[in-house]
């Protein structure tokens, strides 16, 4: 079928550049060269030997974890209010809560950068998590909102008629049904936070260099071929996560 052909070709187009980078990362020349003239782990050795790559990756991981937790804690209840409530001003509230998506990251970066300094907020971790929270909450709201709209409100109504309190309904009915959407929203938030560069570049303090920022600054002034090795490692990691996710899926066909 034609659509399948197009789709498969397109999926190929998506991974091809990353595959080339994987090949480059195993080259023996310590530079970005294609095709590589020999095979070696040089760049991976440099990745481990050079200061900061691993600690930056670890920092990014922790920030992304905290930011997606924050985004879930704030975003899911907000999505509940927006999808179940019929209060006046709901549309404006929605527009307000989703507006960080609409503002380009350079702008948020510039704004938060000056703001944090004015406030004297000097905790490096907190700065990054709050800033990433701004960027990720809207994505959780959108995803959770979509999930809530798929849950039939009459289920909740029935539970309340049967005498269950509001929080019991939430805990026993709504949240369990919302789990897939929350997982998706959390994952989205994690990805965005882990990949975020412009905001982090501005708000980060000394000693809080996230991986994307380290990668970005290493292309701004000079290029580090270690980038190829880092990209390969991240790709391998994401492939592993996706395979794991696939294994957790029920194998039923739609």
């Amino acid at each position: 079928m034609a659509v399948n052909g197009v789709a498969v070709a397109f999926l190929g187009f998506l991974v091809l550049p990353s595959l080339i980078v994987v090949v480059i990362s195993f080259g023996d020349s310590n530079q970005i060269v294609f095709p590589p003239k020999g095979f070696s782990f040089n760049l991976f050795r440099r990745l481990l030997a050079e200061e900061g790559w691993i600690s930056s990756a670890w920092l990014s991981f922790r920030v992304a974890l905290a930011a997606s937790a924050l985004a879930l804690v704030l975003g899911v209840p907000a999505a509940y209010a927006l999808s179940r409530g019929r209060f006046p001003g709901r549309r404006w509230l929605a527009l307000f809560l989703l507006s960080p998506i609409m503002v380009p990251h350079v702008v948020i970066a510039l704004a938060l950068y000056v703001y944090f300094v004015e406030l004297g907020l000097s905790n490096g971790m907190l700065r990054l998590v709050l800033a990433h929270g701004v960027a990720t909450v809207p994505f959780v709201i959108v995803t959770a909102n979509a999930g809530l709209r798929q849950i039939d409100p009459s289920l909740e109504r029935v539970a309340r008629v049967m005498g269950a309190g509001r929080f019991t309904v939430l805990r026993k009915v709504t949240l369990p049904l919302l789990k897939p959407a929350m997982v998706a929203g959390g994952l989205f938030a994690f990805l965005i936070s882990f990949d975020e560069v412009v905001i982090s570049l501005f708000v980060a303090r000394a000693g809080y260099t996230t991986l994307p920022v380290k990668m970005f600054s290493s292309i701004q002034f000079e290029v580090s071929p270690v980038l190829a090795a880092i990209s390969t490692m991240l790709t391998a990691l994401s492939v592993a996560v996706c395979i794991l996710a696939a294994r957790l899926q029920p194998n039923a066909s739609t």
Binding site: V6, S18, L95, V239
Partner: protein
């Protein structure tokens, strides 16, 4: 009596959004208001002035770059949609486990640094790249695929396509398969079913994806700089220049205000499109 109870109930529901609203007010609205305020200051920041906007209006550069930014963002949106829809459709027809596995393909581009990726694109699409060599083998080409607007579209959609695929996929998966089956029983052909049933029902996903991609594109500048030609210049590039090099922050703020206004206008315009309203509020389409 009943209406008071109803109101109380509504307020209680609304209060669930309070933490998020407070958070956004403190860490987003306020700093952003400061940016907007700064755009109305003089060069030395000492007093109110129309200096920044005056500067923007006084040279053709800002108009040209705004136009380019809109063109590129719109193009990237269309390009991503063109690529994402068949892919999402294909993925929606796969069993869940295989679909989860195929997601690897959609997510992998996320993890490869754009700089090394731009080198990979040169190897694939450059003048002596793989594609042009294949074309030459069959007596065609060479075609200029990079370092022009087309290259920008390729590079941007490569990054943005997950933001288009996910909403479309969600809206396709939401459609009960019985619908298509019923249409088939009624004698509709495959194409007709797609055109009359599947496509219209996926419009909300398409709208959401388009909005996300368009707005995210507005803030791009590294990809156009790496894969575009000399005319592919973005507003975000100028924000960066005035923030970090020239350090004329009122001008940077003024450009930021323009960018934001464009993005909000796009969001409001799209919320009038069928299905778009679901994006701004939880109401059903």
């Amino acid at each position: 009596m009943k209406s008071t109870l109803e109101l109380q109930e509504q307020l209680r529901t609304a209060s669930f959004a309070l933490p998020a609203a407070l958070f956004m007010a403190a860490t987003f609205a306020l700093p952003l208001a400061a940016v907007a305020w700064q755009s109305f200051l003089s060069a030395d920041g000492a007093h109110l002035s129309g200096f920044a906007y005056g500067k923007m209006l006084s040279t053709p550069l800002f108009f040209l770059v705004t136009a380019t930014t809109l063109q590129i963002s719109f193009g990237a949106m269309c390009f991503s949609l063109l690529l994402a829809y068949p892919t999402a459709y294909f993925l929606s027809r796969q069993p869940p486990r295989r679909r989860a596995f195929l997601m690897v393909f959609v997510l992998v581009p996320f993890w490869t640094s754009i700089l090394v990726k731009s080198f990979a694109f040169t190897i694939l699409l450059g003048q002596s790249g793989v594609v042009n060599q294949l074309l030459a083998a069959v007596g065609l080409g060479p075609i200029k695929l990079l370092f022009n607007r087309f290259g920008v579209m390729v590079g941007m959609s490569h990054f943005l396509v997950p933001f288009m695929i996910f909403p479309i996929l969600t809206s396709l998966l939401k459609q009960p398969p019985e619908l298509a089956k019923a249409a088939a029983i009624m004698g509709a052909g495959k194409f007709r079913i797609f055109w009359k049933v599947t496509l219209p029902l996926s419009v909300p996903g398409v709208t959401a994806g388009c909005l996300l991609v368009f707005i995210l594109s507005l803030g791009f500048y590294v990809v156009p700089a790496l894969l575009g030609g000399r005319k592919d210049m973005m507003l975000a590039n100028l924000v960066d220049f005035y923030t970090r090099e020239a350090m004329v922050w009122p001008v940077a703020s003024a450009i930021a205000v323009v960018l934001t206004t464009v993005a909000v206008a796009a969001a409001l315009a799209l919320s009038r499109v069928p299905g778009g309203s679901s994006l701004l509020a939880g109401e059903d389409d």
